[in-house]
């Protein structure tokens, strides 16, 4: 290769590297990281889930992460997938893993929804905002979680579990949301999932 052709190639190389480099590489040296990387098989690197069914853990409030893990581990929030893993997280240090995910940059799901479904969901969203707030970001003081940016498939599946009283059966705190879900047709649950998933 002629020397005069080397520099343009070198510049292209640098440009390509800058565009496609290790942008998603996050810190792996916190005390919770060694346990959290096991979670990434399903929940994505640093909790940035890429799938429609697995919730995003990156940037999740520690109080909510810890409640979810404790409820899974106790078999209160039933899940054959999460119950064993929740016990493993507790074994290795729940506070560390909660802190790890809380410290990760919050991303939104790459899964997109039908714009028409989003608009239908927006029109029906007032029933959610009473507890979750107009922004959908929730209220930690009342134990109400953030709905925004999660995968639509995950949001829909959780609403269906509430509706069928299969998520944490008997949990008094969830009684109101279950009563509400029972009044909403399944198609509208899908629309609400599409809307809250799209909210940033």
């Amino acid at each position: 290769m002629e020397r005069d052709k080397v520099m343009p190639i070198a510049l292209i190389s640098l440009l390509l590297l800058a565009l496609t480099g290790t942008a998603e590489a996050g810190p792996l040296d916190g005390p919770g990281a060694p346990t959290a990387v096991i979670c990434s098989a399903c929940h994505g690197f640093a909790g940035q889930s890429q799938s429609n069914t697995m919730p995003i853990l990156a940037g999740m409030a520690p109080w909510y992460f810890k409640k979810a893990i404790q409820d899974f581990a106790a078999g209160k929030r039933t899940s054959p997938e999460m119950e064993p893993y929740a016990k493993q997280v507790v074994q290795f240090g729940l506070d560390d893993v909660a802190a790890y995910f809380a410290a990760q940059k919050r991303t939104v799901t790459p899964v997109t929804s039908d714009p028409a479904a989003i608009e239908r969901g927006r029109a029906a969203a007032a029933q959610c905002t009473l507890c979750h707030g107009a922004s959908g970001k929730g209220d930690p003081a009342k134990g109400v979680p953030d709905l925004t940016g999660q995968p639509p498939g995950y949001l829909k599946s959780q609403m269906l579990l509430f509706k069928a009283d299969k998520r944490s059966p008997g949990d008094a705190q969830l009684k109101v949301v279950k009563v509400l879900m029972a009044t909403i047709p399944d198609e509208q649950l899908a629309d609400l999932a599409a809307y809250w998933s799209s909210v940033r």
Binding site: A41, Q88, G153
Partner: protein, 415 residues
């Protein structure tokens, strides 16, 4: 800092190689300048390990040796047999690993020199500081009479790829009323529930497309060895399955189209899928990484360093001694744990105690799945199971979760 030479620049820029249109070769990496990890095998374990070493410490050079230019997922490949998925939907390239700075070389390791800390590739060699060996399984052809000479005609389809496509073609071409024979080797083998999931997929296909056909399953094991009750319940929908436990196949004759079991029974087939007995990948055997059984590799449970050779770590299906199945999810976990261990050891830091996890879905029809999940802890320096949990039945929800799992873990390995 001196100006880099053209050659140095192109190597260090990584993608410069692609831009220049010249693929790197082993000879280009004959010398190492800094700390280097070599990984043998770009499957569930090796690809993950290579990526996570770079994520944990980008100053460490990682060279990955993988002969195949594309990765084809074994999980979900049974759905290709039934026509529910295409092979393209489970095939991925290695370009994203390159973007993480992994030097991917499509070549085969021919020997390991532990004292010199070098991997030989033909006449060339790659020096390393730490080596991660993730060679998967090799088939023990000699265990079944007639199999070694008929490797091209008797399909295993147990390493997803061209054989998967060919077996699907044979299944589709089989006349209605034909007999499909599936043989299962004695444990331990790659993916314990895999043959039983395959049974479901072939039976589902036959039920819907060739209702007069039959599937005979000859299992060397006395019973279904994974998710037993769930598979039994699923098979209630498939009266075309004839399952025979404790029927180890010891001989195959493609001329007469029949297999012979240890008991002397001869079984005729129209289409045969013979899954041979297995051992650790060839490089693990030739490099003396296997134990007294000459089949599998024993490792330290915290670092995955071989108990036989220092600075060499073995992960994935080739390992033995941990209470874990030979699954893709376990190999993925071992990839991450060994990567963080290797980075710690190269930096003279303590190795963090980490345990793997296992999530394993099996498709029992075109739209329903079952699952088993295993969690682990470290106790006395060993991996110990905390709990195993099964789904209470089969459902479309578990199948949707299976798709979510696959999407995520393929990204975790190669994305």
């Amino acid at each position: 800092m001196k100006d880099p030479t053209r050659r140095e620049f192109l190597w260090t820029s990584g993608l410069g190689l692609l831009a220049a249109g010249c693929a790197p070769t082993v000879a280009d990496y004959a010398q190492k300048s800094g700390r280097r990890v070599v990984v043998i095998g770009g499957g569930w374990g090796g690809a993950t390990a290579a990526k996570y070493v770079r994520l944990a410490d980008p100053s460490i050079e990682v060279v990955l040796l993988e002969p195949n230019k594309q990765f084809v997922s074994c999980p979900f490949s049974n759905l290709v047999l039934s026509g529910v998925r295409t092979i393209d939907s489970i095939t991925f390239g290695y370009d994203r690993l390159r973007a993480h700075g992994v030097r991917v070389l499509h070549d085969t390791a021919t020997a390991i020199e532990p004292d010199a800390k070098r991997v030989r590739v033909g006449n060339d060699s790659l020096p390393y500081d730490r080596l991660i060996v993730s060679p998967g399984v090799e088939f023990q052809w000699e265990q079944v009479e007639g199999l070694a000479a008929a490797q091209d005609r008797v399909l295993h389809a147990w390493k997803a790829g061209p054989q998967t496509v060919e077996l699907a073609r044979q299944l589709q071409a089989m006349p209605d009323g034909g007999v499909f024979v599936l043989t299962i080797p004695p444990a331990a083998y790659r993916c314990p529930p895999g043959p039983y999931e395959r049974t479901c997929q072939v039976a589902w296909y036959l039920k819907n497309n060739k209702p007069k056909s039959k599937l005979i399953v000859l299992d060397a094991n006395p019973n279904i060895i994974s998710k037993t009750a769930l598979f039994r319940a699923a098979w209630a929908s498939y009266p075309n399955i004839e399952y025979r436990g404790s029927n180890k196949v010891v001989k195959v004759d493609p001329g007469t189209r029949e297999v012979t079991t240890e008991l002397g029974d001869k079984v005729k087939y129209d289409v045969l899928n013979l899954i041979p007995p297995q051992r650790a990948g060839t490089i693990a055997v030739s490099a003396d990484l296997v134990g007294a059984d000459k089949r599998w590799c024993e490792v330290n449970h915290l670092t995955y360093e071989s108990v036989k050779h220092k600075n060499i770590h073995v992960i994935g299906d080739s390992t033995i001694g941990l209470p874990v199945p030979k699954s893709g999810n376990i190999a993925n976990a071992m990839g991450k744990i060994s990567a963080l261990a290797v980075v710690s050891l190269l930096s003279d830091k303590p190795v963090p105690p980490m345990a793997p996890g296992n999530t394993c879905y099996s498709w029992v029809s075109d739209r329903e799945a079952i699952a088993v999940v295993n969690a682990y802890k470290i106790e006395g320096g060993k991996v110990v199971q905390i709990e195993q949990k099964l789904t209470p039945g089969q459902s479309e929800m578990w199948a949707q979760n299976a798709v979510g799992w696959a999407t995520s873990i393929w990204q975790d390995m190669l994305g």
